[in-house]
């Protein structure tokens, strides 16, 4: 087995709808070691969630389809597994925390039972034992065990998200995918939930894919970062490397758009233009219409993935000579 827990190679996921083909994920490559945290960062529509669903084999098909690539997890290509085999992976080895805790819990099942469900599905436990373990999980995420009998609507948003975390971690998965877990929460609760995730990640020694559009969260929790643009990772690097030494013009634009607390800034500096329509991506580098350094070649040649420093990959023609 390779040193990587998860090795996503050239993943492409398209949605074939009536109006045309949506290129949601294009030639995405990244790796993740056991215990490591990667942040998938990008604007809305950059294909972050589709990537997560792709790893879980939960892309709705039709219309969605994984057209190319490999997702190697523990040495097995998840895309080649049957649905029944995949069900065994879901929840026990890979699990997911959803964006909106208001809708990701079943309103008519007590939260304790929802945690117990995962355990019943994957571990040989009796119903009573599963419930006992479920209350232990609740205690771990800081909810009083006697509340196991209560229904989701009796909890606040932050508590529900903690229940979601308890469900995701109940079977001690190797990989946890968190799809913008703090977007629906207010800032103070965000911090709490992040702290909790960090602590539990260490306790359970879980790898984490953190999907977010907030570079602050990346700085807080991740080891490395993949900056996604129009469905592919334009830059992948270690967190410190990326923040200190960003290469791709898009990454630089993103970092520049964060106001500096030390400077007296009049207005924000957004990247000009909008994300391209994934149904009609520009040829060559998808970022070239918005790029300050774009040349005529950028519209024609799709930039290859170039390693500019150890573990620092960029997809941009500016750095072409440096690599292969």
């Amino acid at each position: 087995m390779s040193e990587y827990l998860l090795d996503v190679k050239n993943l492409s996921i398209y949605f074939f709808i009536q109006e045309g083909t949506v290129h949601a994920v294009n030639d995405l490559t990244f790796t993740l070691k056991p215990g490591e945290t990667i942040g998938l960062v990008g604007e809305t529509g950059a294909g972050k969630t589709t990537t997560a669903l792709g790893i879980m084999s939960l892309v709705q098909s039709p219309p969605g389809m994984v057209v190319d690539g490999q997702i190697v997890f523990e040495g097995r290509d998840l895309l080649k597994l049957s649905e029944a085999e995949m069900r065994k992976v879901r929840g026990s080895k890979i699990s997911m925390i959803f964006q909106d805790p208001m809708t990701s819990l079943n309103p008519v099942i007590p939260v304790g039972d929802q945690i117990a469900e995962v355990l019943l599905l994957h571990e040989n436990l009796s119903a009573a034992d599963a419930r006992i373990k479920a209350t232990e999980m609740l205690t771990k995420v800081g909810i009083r065990p006697e509340r196991a009998k209560e229904y989701p609507h009796q909890f606040s948003g932050g508590m529900r998200q903690r229940v979601g975390i308890a469900i995701a971690l109940a079977c001690n998965p190797l990989l946890l995918i968190a799809d913008e877990p703090t977007t629906a929460l207010d800032v103070t609760i965000q911090a709490q939930v992040l702290e909790l995730m960090k602590a539990l990640k260490v306790e359970f020694n879980t790898s984490l894919i953190m999907i977010t559009h907030d570079l602050g969260i990346v700085a807080e929790i991740c080891d490395k970062v993949a900056i996604m643009y129009a469905g592919s990772a334009v830059e992948t690097a270690d967190k410190y490397e990326l923040f200190r030494n960003p290469k791709h013009p898009y990454t630089i634009g993103l970092l520049n758009s964060i106001p500096d607390i030390e400077k007296d800034e009049e207005s924000l500096k957004p990247i000009k233009g909008l994300m391209p329509d994934p149904m009609n991506l520009p040829g060559g580098c998808p970022f070239h219409p918005r790029c300050d350094h774009a040349t005529s070649r950028c519209a024609e040649v799709v930039p290859p993935r170039v390693e500019v420093a150890k573990g620092h990959f960029v997809k941009c023609l500016l750095f072409e000579e440096g690599g292969a």
Binding site: S92, E136, E150
Partner: protein, 352 residues
Amino acid sequence: MTNVNPQKQMSKEAMAPEKFAGTKRLDRFMEVWRRFRRNPLAVAGLVMILLMGVLAISADWIAPGTEFDPGYDIQNLPARLVRPGDTFNTGFLDDYGNPIYESVGIFGTDHLGRDMLGRIAHGSRITLLVAFLVVTISMTLGVTLGAIAGFYGGVSDNIIMRVIDVILAMPTILLAITIAAALDPGLHTIIIAVGVGAIPGYARITRAQVLTLRDQEFVEAARSVGANDFRLIRKHILPNCMAPIIVEATMGLAGAIASAAALSFLGIGLAPPTPEWGAMLADGRRFMLAGEWHMTVFPGVAIAMIIFSLNMMGDGLRDAFDPRLRSAGFSKKRFKRQLQAIEAKKAGAKEV
């Protein structure tokens, strides 16, 4: 301290897990019952239905028949068309040569001298049996079909829903009459005739619910922990659409009773001596203008009352079942008591 049994340690740390582990179906049922109890109209409906059940069970005991009035099933022509409270001439003479007059059951007798109370009581057996069987069968079929159609969509949805549309295209009562006429008369015929017409209602409601629920994030979340389709439907989707299905089922009980009565009224339900309420109504119709009101009023009131009770109970059940409508452990009494306590404290503080 490394080899502490984690199980033991855990249970010491929190007593509640065992308590939670013990929550079974019964507890869940008690919770629904607690909320149901707070709705007086619904409880009244339930009581009425229970009384009807008692009536059905004790029918033989309520109307055992007398020497001159053998009961609900056997003709007794001298006692025909006796109104409630009246007496009739038995045709026998006492020792002094005077005719013997006898009283009849509190609901009077019908045109063949049969005791109306006894017939109503025995009729309730048939009514309840038909209603529950019709609903059970049509609900099971309808919900299953609707869930499959809604969950899988595409071809299965098209096939199932087109068949449902065909059934819906025919007026329910005509469909029932056709089926009843085609099959041998009997209880099973009524059940099939009425039941088939009820399937589309359940199928459509279930399908509509499943369609909105299947794309909800919690279903995706359940899928992401490894649940299969059957489990998704049974554990996550169907419990979320129970409220409208239960309402439809209680209303369906009422509808089944009305339809069965209508079939019997038209003479294609159960064969004549059977004391079916609809058939009794049809018999009484002929004597209504002659002033024999009791032959139509009692079966009519019986039908109306059970349907009314069922509808009220249905409303109550819907509110009790839906956890989103529940006010967690809220009791008006307790709230009032707390309020009084606060008031008392305030008053006490003022005095000091």
